[in-house]
Symmetry: D2
Subunit: 104 residues, 4 copies
């Protein structure tokens, strides 16, 4: 990937960047809220419910990034005719899926 | 997908077909083993351990099919230049990943 | 756990035994169905969908066993006053949950 | 649960409170790091790897809270002889496990 001063390489999620940052910012706030709950000795189950909510929010965010990655970066590499690049992208994708699906 | 008497459409996992059937057959046997455990009033935790083992075996099998699917079918569609086929394959793939990762 | 010819030790799921065996038998049939699908060169995504369905069925069965285990075996051990037994049951439970939730 | 000015109700995780807050604070920082990565147009897969790391960290934190919850709150309720309290705690626990294991 060549980078010049004029043109910065961007990726699949680029058009949703602002929305993504906003969602991450909200998740950051949720985590801070859990810190407060622990600090205030709130009930374990309430805390666990909030941790679950953050997990779900992260999963859904990850899926959005994965979706745009497949539709842009992977699709681009596979249709480029560059076999090596295509293979790298495919392999990376499978590893990312394996991590998220916790498939072993 | 045209099917003629001469040539049957096959998919990414085709070369591993025999090994896959064997693995599935072993999983089938594991499930039958759990039936026996329940029937013999075996301890809950031992049964749960076996159910976990079957889940892990299924995940790993699913990942193998997903891997060959991405490397053959999806890669083929994306490099074919057929946009509609490429989009269908991409969408199907993302939905399959979402089901396995239980991302919502 | 003492076992005599007269009285066999049973566990939380005992009353649902028949229903559990039936569910496992159905899952066994689903796995056999997937073997057939592979053998008939069915489309990868259709196979993955069936594997997902079996995974969900196993999860739901595991949860039923876990539920009765907690309500009978764990509850019994914790209210028995036998500290060692209580601790063993608690530890086993947490490990089973960790396996299912794939928490690391 | 009675609360007086003198004595505040605390829960299983109370002794690990400081460590838990620290871990949550680190997770908060990780999320902020991901925001920066998105803002800097970093590569999708690198971002996904970081999201995975946060998910794993949250899971492991949740498991620690669940562990102390079972060993203190649930164990306490089940050995108290208060059937209603025992049943509530058991039910809550199973629901929390179901959420984390994404069992349906």
């Amino acid at each position: 990937v060549s980078k010049t001063a004029q043109k910065k390489q961007t990726y699949g999620y680029h058009d949703d960047k602002e929305a993504l940052v906003k969602r991450l910012h909200r998740i950051e706030g949720q985590v801070r809220g859990i810190e407060r709950m622990v600090d205030e000795d709130r009930y374990c189950i309430e805390i666990l419910t909030q941790v679950s909510a953050v997990s779900t929010a992260l999963d859904s965010l990850a899926f959005q990034i994965l979706d745009s990655h497949v539709n842009h970066c992977v699709a681009g590499a596979l249709s480029s005719g560059n076999d090596r690049e295509a293979q790298t992208k495919t392999q990376e994708l499978l590893e990312a899926v394996q991590r998220f699906a916790k498939m072993r």
